[in-house]
């Protein structure tokens, strides 16, 4: 700061370190309290009887079955919603058709619907008395309270992620490169593989990661639609819920950390790759 005799000098326009520190402390403190503390508490409880106890919590047929079910459901949901998600994104960005804006909104609907309501809708539609369920029931196929129901509910809640991440990237890319590829003789399929896909790569990967995390962690919709039948229709999250309500805390905590951990690591990895790639 300069002093020039009689002139009143305005203080330099910089937040005083005190204010800055207070903001940082307050904000980070809030975050730590709200988010980190519970996670720490869970980790503590899960491990506080030792790593062996932690692992023992993951033993048992119910746990094994639950995790397998979750993994298969997740893989299915990711594969289907990745393909459909990309197709949807292409339709929304590169094509024009009647009702396009409406359709755009529809894709976002699963975000807005409560998981319980989602599960409920599928019961109404595919349950034994449901509009479509009736026909399946007559054919001896169970949808609700069985695997198909779980898969469909998971497909619903994970539908928007890939599309939402791919659409902006696709839009930014523009058509020029694709059109050039056509002039060079590439079919639309080849162009998609060699030109479009590499360009939307990161958006797609991020969308897939979000889809995976959501599919792994879906609770409400699957609870309603599956009936949570142990070793039959219990996913990992339902298994955790079961163990917790049965007071098998170690089992619940161990499974929770594993499930949450997988998702979190996936998210971290994606962020890391993305940053590395951007700097390259």
């Amino acid at each position: 700061m300069e002093h020039s005799g009689m002139l009143q000098v305005r203080p330099t326009a910089r937040r005083t370190p005190w204010g800055k520190r207070a903001l940082m402390a307050g904000t980070l403190g809030w975050f730590a309290l709200l988010v980190l503390l519970p996670v720490a508490a869970l980790s503590f409880e899960a491990f506080h009887s030792g790593p062996l106890a932690f692992l023992s919590g993951l033993k048992g047929e119910a746990a094994a079955h639950a995790f397998w079910l979750t993994i298969w459901t997740t893989i299915l949901a990711v594969v289907v919603n990745t393909i459909m998600g990309v197709l949807l994104a292409i339709l929304l960005v590169r094509h024009n058709f009647f009702g396009k804006t409406l359709f755009d909104g529809i894709v976002d609907l699963p975000f807005a619907v409560s998981p319980v309501v989602a599960g409920f809708m599928f019961i109404v539609l595919f349950g034994p008395q449901g509009w479509l369920g009736k026909w399946f029931e007559a054919g001896g196929v169970k949808i609700v309270f069985a695997l198909p129901g779980i898969v469909i509910a998971t497909l619903f809640v994970t539908l928007p992620f890939v599309t939402r991440e791919v659409v902006p990237v696709l839009r930014e890319m523009g058509r020029d490169a694709e059109e050039v590829a056509y002039t060079l003789g590439a079919s639309r399929w080849l162009t998609f593989w060699k030109v479009t896909l590499p360009t939307i790569r990161w958006g797609l990967i991020y969308g897939i990661t979000l889809t995976t995390a959501r599919a792994l962690g879906e609770f409400g919709a699957v609870l309603v639609v599956s009936g949570s039948i142990i070793k039959r229709t219990q996913t990992a999250t339902l298994h955790i819920h079961q163990e917790f309500t049965d007071f098998h805390y170690q089992a619940a905590f161990s499974a929770s950390l594993v499930l949450g951990g997988i998702s979190f690591v996936l998210l971290l990895m994606t962020e890391y790759w993305k940053k590395r790639h951007k700097e390259a």
């Binding site: 996670v39 459909m84 979000l210």
Partner: protein, 280 residues
């Protein structure tokens, strides 16, 4: 070459590829999203508006809805402030471990909702030392309203932060510097220059958080339980009705939640347009 032909029949490119894609995508979205939503809505509406009103205003349902909205609003306001502050700190400040903290923000996205509830019970429940201590102070978190808000704050934490962050990053510091040369204090600059610029993104984050909070099930049902007229939020109420084979109650309240979700989606759409017009 033949002399100029006056007209060539407007030709159609072979549409098979395009049409197939459209059919596949529309059927998929129709089956997984549109049909179930329509079914449930029609079935609910089929009862007649009076019946719906009756079911909705029935004391338990009405309480659940009110509790849900009040909690969601409280959470939204808190998140608007803390989320913006967090985004600010992440973008404008530097501290050790910043990239790590940045990734941690996504934790709530990675964790299954019932695990969130579980963690909060572990931390604040009647068995933990913290919970016992709070009880002596007369503060009840678990199985009480504060727990609900805490759970909602947790699961929706990333929404506002992630919505504001990119906009803040793009904001040129020049504008703020210009304001300060014109005599504005830091606070005034923030209030009159930065905040309006961030408003669309803050509102978007809040709308997303609010929408999510209305439908939140897993974390709330674990933390606050299912005590009618005390800690039962709308999604939990719906779940209760489904489990007791009372679809009518479930339908009515589901319809209300769906309608509100739709309104919020429309609002979000408007917000995005607004943001785009202002170049944010």
């Amino acid at each position: 070459m033949s002399p100029a032909s006056t007209k060539t029949i407007a030709f159609r490119r072979i549409p098979s590829g395009d049409a197939l894609i459209k059919i596949a995508v529309f059927s998929y979205v129709g089956l997984i999203v549109i049909l179930p939503l329509l079914t449930v809505s029609l079935q609910a509406l089929g009862q007649g508006v009076f019946k719906i009103w009756e079911d909705v205003t029935q004391p338990q349902a009405w309480f659940a809805l009110r509790l849900t909205f009040v909690s969601a609003i409280a959470m939204a306001l808190l998140n608007a402030v803390t989320g913006t502050a967090m985004a600010w700190v992440l973008v404008r400040h530097d501290f050790p471990g910043k990239p790590f903290v940045n990734s941690l923000i996504d934790l709530p996205f990675a964790l299954p909702t019932n695990v969130t509830g579980l963690m909060l019970v572990v931390l604040y429940g009647p068995v933990s030392w913290l919970g016992k201590y709070l009880k002596t102070q007369g503060i009840e978190i678990i199985y009480a309203q504060p727990g609900i808000i805490l759970a909602l704050l947790f699961v929706t934490f990333p929404f506002v932060v992630r919505s504001v962050q990119p906009v803040l990053m793009e904001l040129d510091k020049d504008i703020e510097e210009a304001a300060s040369t014109l005599g504005a204090s830091r606070f005034t600059t923030f209030r009159r220059v930065v905040l309006p610029h961030l408003m669309p993104s803050i509102l978007t984050g809040v709308a997303l958080a609010f929408s999510r909070a209305l439908g939140e099930f897993g974390s709330v049902v674990v933390v606050a339980g299912n005590i009618p007229m005390k800690t039962q939020v709308a999604p939990v109420f719906i779940y209760g009705e489904i489990e007791s084979y009372n679809p009518r109650g479930a339908l009515a309240v589901s319809l209300v939640l769906l309608l509100v979700s739709l309104l919020i989606l429309l609002l979000l759409n408007r917000l995005q347009h607004w943001g785009r017009e202002r170049g944010t």
